[in-house]
Symmetry: C3
Subunit: 373 residues, 3 copies
């Protein structure tokens, strides 16, 4: 409890480090349709819920506490509907070798399925992740065991891709293989059945210095759906699998990024008023251009994304049809501050037994101020 022994020679503040970031948004300008919402993206869209809104307030406690043990604990202080503190990541990496090329990650962490899912929200250009791949893993995270391998040279390349401002994903291995609960983070599992995920990625570096990363990933498991007014005979457990490729041309200065996935999972059918196992697909393409002007970085970007399938973690595995085009820019006057301004044109269908006919179209301007500390 109290007055435990000093566990090492060096001081606590050399072993444990702290950093963080916060994102404040304003989504209320030029909104054409108050019924256009996206629960998974940002709960302050649409309705009367406009106003200034913290999307994320993150503190990250981390450190290499032992030559072969790394820890990472990241609570979010903008959670629970009232800015409560809730865990996002809580994991520790145990390396098998001194160079840390082989590691197992234990705890709650990002599931290696999709580049945009793995990339930190503090680095992503569009304000929210694409529905197509983000619907695979709610909040991108799960609790389980994840094995990662990358040779030292590739680890350094992953590091460069974030440290240089090229907005890489961080190091989730050249090869990853994991098992996890499968019902989402911060809750107990609901079946005796793990999900299995695997991913292979390679960041090619050309003689020009240009880097191109290509990946392929897939997962499989069973998911328990929460149904509105369930009868005891209603099916709640469904097959849940997906696979697909990623290509990222890093913005040196022109960047291009595309991902897609196919699979099967639960989806509400408005005609039968039932949840069925259905095919799903979705993805996006993003283009961006990185302009350096003195100390300033300005990155105009555009993304088109698309999803056709159910969202398993919503009630009745809500049926979604999403087409969205975004055009905007990010401005970084220095490392500690970023401003994103983005126009969204959206066509979203979200249907379940509570709302069996709900297609909404519209557009709005979205603003975000981010501080990195």
């Amino acid at each position: 409890q109290e007055q435990n022994p000093p566990r090492v020679v060096n001081t606590w503040f050399e072993k444990i480090q702290l950093r963080g970031y916060a994102q404040l948004r304003y989504n209320g300008l030029f909104e054409t349709n108050p019924d256009l919402k996206c629960d998974q993206c940002d709960k302050s869209w649409g309705g009367d819920n406009g106003g200034f809104f913290f999307r994320r307030i993150r503190l990250i406690f981390y450190g290499q506490i032992h030559p072969q043990v790394y820890f990472y604990i990241q609570p979010d202080f903008a959670s629970g509907g009232g800015n409560f503190a809730q865990i996002r990541d809580a994991y520790f990496d145990l390396a098998f070798d001194k160079k840390q090329e082989f590691r197992v990650r234990i705890g709650q962490s990002k599931v290696p399925f999709g580049f945009e899912n793995l990339q930190s929200s503090s680095n992503r250009l569009p304000l929210d992740r694409n529905d197509g791949l983000n619907s695979a893993v709610p909040n991108e995270r799960e609790t389980g065991l994840f094995f990662y391998y990358a040779p030292q040279k590739i680890r350094e390349r992953f590091r460069f891709l974030t440290s240089s401002g090229l907005k890489g994903s961080g190091d989730y291995g050249m090869f990853g293989l994991g098992i996890y609960n499968g019902q989402g983070p911060n809750q107990q599992d609901k079946n005796r059945n793990v999900h299995v995920v695997s991913r292979f990625t390679y960041p090619f570096e050309f003689s020009s210095g240009q880097i191109l990363e290509a990946s392929f990933q897939g997962y499989v498991g069973n998911y328990i759906v929460t149904r509105n007014n369930p009868a005891s005979t209603d099916q709640v457990e469904f097959k849940d699998f997906r696979y697909g490729p990623t290509v990222v041309l890093y913005p040196q200065p022109f960047g291009l990024q595309a991902e897609f996935n196919w699979g099967k999972g639960p989806e509400y059918d408005p005609e039968l008023d039932d949840v069925l196992e259905s095919p799903l697909q979705g993805g996006y393409i993003l283009a961006n251009y990185r302009i350096l002007k003195g100390k300033d970085v300005i990155i105009p970007f555009t993304r088109y994304h698309y999803y056709k399938g159910g969202k398993k973690f919503e009630i009745d595995a809500t049926r979604h049809r999403v087409k969205e085009l975004e055009v905007g820019f990010e401005w970084q006057p220095h490392r500690n501050f970023e401003l994103v301004c983005m126009y969204t044109f959206s066509d979203r269908t979200a249907e379940n037994s509570l709302n069996p006919s709900n297609r909404q179209k519209g557009s709005l301007l979205r603003l975000q101020a981010q501080v990195n500390f």
Copy 2:
């Protein structure tokens, strides 16, 4: 995510700092009326809920992370009814100039309306804020944008007023102007309408060294009231404005402090069983005397405060009539520990549709131990 680049040359613990304080209370002695309560002040008053009680457990992460960027994140760990961690402040100051005379504060922070509202609870003499001005801004805080201006000399004076132990408010500018959601902190806005606040203050320093601060402040907006059993025809949105002066004679050694505000806002009417837009007014006067005895500081004080109006953030904008006299003292044996002992004589009316006739009188002794770290 992980292994982000080192963002600056200096170490994290020179850029980010941590401090905090905690307040433990015991309100159960010599209580004459268990039905005398004050929800806004301290939920451990009255009823059977006596006992030891943490009013605040605060950790403050802050730092000047860039010559022109300051961040401040303060969760409270005594929130949510069960000592959960919830954000109080989360803001960043962007300065326009190197001297930081012109700043905009972005995020959730104190609304510049009233000296006692702005003063930290760790510095206030009475255990709770006065109902008169604190009912203007629940929890004193809102999310929005706040512009502050103060010349360097005045900024130093504000700094001196806290560092010297004179219990100043901190630096919220000589002039402040802000826009904010208006429905209270840690929740989404409920209308598409910002509140606007402004304040002017000046700390006069006389040749004797005595400092006198005079302020004037006001705000205006629309507020959505939560009604018990609302009919669809019931009005929920009400005008909400207030204005008033502050005078603070700092305790060198005798101090005097007075604030008042007038305005209009929603208020429950027990006769009509309805919520009406009604005039409101309230304020207080506080006297104190700062005794230095060796290393000890002892500050006897007395405050009389008064409020007549609705509390917009309570159900049905509960009708309040408050008259309260407090007599007590604060004892600081050193910077890290404080003890407050205070006798309260109270006459409180709090009426809404659930409890349309409720006037309570009584007295009690209140104790608080505070640790600053």
Copy 3:
């Protein structure tokens, strides 16, 4: 608020320190009876709730901020059913003398009743505390005032017992006396009545270096039981007292540990369908052997524990009959990582008005990975 003065000459990171630990579990292997559960121990036992599960994610902020003031704030980030941050400890020690032999502890902290209750979960060998003594103080903690006395020599011995890896309890004094709310931590008291606890312990050191600690402890108070469907005539306040001895032979290398307690408290009676004041008793015996192999520490252990009585903090003061045998080992490759593997054979009865006949027997394998940072 902001820009408060530097309170001391030394830097914040020399005064405030941070450490922590996290425990990830998997209870799903070789489970013979899914209806065998233990709510108080670990909510991921039994049912369909298998899977990877964080039992604790702790960050501890602490420090000697003044020669006579120590503070300790420990939130848990695996609380509230969804990995929210909630306070476990929040206390400050005020020492009366420079040697800190006489101290009063103010705030929420462990109640000095039972060695295993006081020992940190990061040090305990079995995954959960024994029902017999842990049912005395839910979550082991309460808010109140606790006086502790230990002479300097004994304080050093307590320190050695944790720093050496012998898994001591930490320093709760040679003599302790406390008053506290009595309804459990992180909530308000429900009666105007404190609990009183006292404990005497002495760690004998033999000339061989072998240490044997013997203690006796007891508490008394009144407890308010939460009843299912209470009639207004139902009794809710019950007498609540316990007392009993502890003996710990520290593992140098063979260790033996035994505790027992007797007392009275509320307990559900399935025949009368009522809650009665009833006698209770329970305890355990634990044997372990500490093997040092190079840098590795391996500790095989076995524990038998037993409880017969009500659990006052469960609905209707649920009637419990517990017999449990555990066999396992802890492996520490280094200070930063521990693995526990433990087989549990259990026979548990847990009956209240919602479930008046519920005896479950079975066995399961339990695994835990712990990281200390």
